[in-house]
Subunit: 257 residues, 2 copies
């Protein structure tokens, strides 16, 4: 099983968009996947076409026992085609209060998701995290085997990349197996001089870690609004290019097959 | 004293940009203001030209006594001109851990900032909040007398407006004086059909609450990168229009004079 956490405490950089883009790449290759939505906003949940779920990530964290994820995952609303629509462990409002409850547990607060995840059958797990470095994101980082930092070409987003990489380092040191950084994806790359400047800045700051960019494309916002996989919009202009950007990230982060 | 909290748990919608835009509007009118940065990312702090502050919002929350804000505020790095550059209570990394420490205090966790703020001399206080509904944002909402919700024209940002308004309602009911909602600002309004659609959607959902929009303008990202007030870039194309958008919000939220 490959499990990738998508993180950045900076808000709005495209974590959920990239998480669903990877799920869409898997869907287009008919590979089964499981998305875990750790963000109380639930954008990955609605982006996968699941509305008002009864239970999900909150219960998985509360359970503190192996197999809870498998029991709580549901089929997404993405088209079946002749393949495997992703499954999802949805976010519910209750998740907002979970973080403070976990804090009160001196024995096991960080590894609840890792425990709940054991026994899940999908070969690919994608964990979408909220814009913070609290216990929800920390649970994602203890459960994953690799982490993808998503950022955008701008001053404040660039400032934050060093901080999230430092937090990843601290967590990796505390785990039995190290947490590998799959890379830094610069998302929403437009054609402005500013965007070019910040993209080059990130490449000079983080070198090899910087993966090929995901360009700014309205098709991605449209896919979000329609709760559809970006690959299903592909014949339309912009969608095919967006799908290609995400296929490239999928190959580098998950592996070609 | 007018104190406005800038909120939305959705990340990247432009909370900090609008917060600094209001401070810039005050600066251009030579009116003194104080910005309180409750976001551990510290984008309002660096946007105001303050780098590596020794102390700030974390200490103000820890102090739990009146006058702490006045003692901890520092002058921003914005140009002096012949007016009043804003003062700021900066964010430091320590703020990340403060939220969980406040949780452990059964007596006073939500109103620390309100207490610390009493005695501050500026006629206008602008509180920038992180993308979450935890105790940092809650402290901002207990300290302010009015709240401005910033959102952007998109599916997921629109989803979240109802939720933040509900949280504001719950807090308002627990305060001696009600917390007034100054409005909902749709920020980053571009010229695409999608943007138009979501802007109309928000107006039909929230009616009178929706204020005139702040348009998508690269000048605002430039001001952030230069740690400069948008009004100081104003002769340049785009900056004057951005400054006007923010002047309009200032008049509606703070009052003309
Ligand atoms: N490459 C892109 N091109 C165009 N629009 C994009 C792109 N990536 C993201 N978006 C849009 O930008 C907005 C923010 O993206 P998204 O919600 O995925 O970010 P996030 O990091 O998950 O936010 P949060 O911090 O709130 O979780 C969304 O409306 C999304 O549709
Ligand atoms: N109206 C606008 N036009 C162009 N760029 C904008 C506009 N508003 C914000 N931006 C840019 O968009 C990015 C996100 O804005 P900002 O950081 O202010 O959002 P935020 O809600 O404070 O984010 P967070 O949730 O991380 O605190 C920044 O790079 C900012 O410069
Ligand atoms: Mg998200
Ligand atoms: Mg901000």
């Amino acid at each position: 099983m490959a499990a990738v956490a998508i993180v950045n405490q900076k808000g709005g950089v495209g974590k959920t968009t990239v998480a669903l883009g990877l799920a869409s790449a898997a869907w287009s290759r008919r590979r089964p996947s499981l998305v875990i939505d750790l963000d109380p906003q639930g954008n990955a949940t609605t982006g996968l076409g699941v509305w008002d779920p009864a239970a999900g990530a909150d219960e998985a964290l509360a359970a503190d026992r192996p197999g809870a994820v498998a029991e709580l995952s549901v089929l997404s609303g993405w088209p079946d085609g002749d393949g495997n629509p992703p499954r999802v462990v949805p976010a519910t409002d209750a998740l907002t209060a979970r973080e403070s409850q976990l804090l009160a547990d001196p024995i096991g607060a960080q590894d609840r998701l890792r425990i709940a995840l054991s026994g899940a059958g999908e070969p690919l797990v994608i964990i979408d995290c909220p814009p913070s470095l609290g216990l929800l994101t920390v649970n994602g980082l203890f459960a994953a085997d690799r982490v993808l930092v998503v950022t955008e070409p701008g001053a404040w987003a660039s400032d934050g990349v060093g901080r999230i990489l430092a937090a990843i380092e601290r967590i990796s040191a505390r785990r039995p197996q190290a947490l590998s950084v799959a890379g830094v994806v610069v998302n929403r790359l437009g054609r402005t001089r500013d965007a070019r400047y910040w993209y080059e800045q990130l490449r000079s700051d983080h070198g090899e870690l910087v993966l090929p960019p995901v360009r700014l494309r309205t098709a991605l916002a449209e896919a979000a609004a329609r709760s559809a996989p970006i690959h299903s919009l592909a014949p339309r202009s912009g969608a095919a290019e967006a799908a290609e950007d995400l296929d490239r990230i999928y190959d580098l982060v998950v592996g070609p097959e």
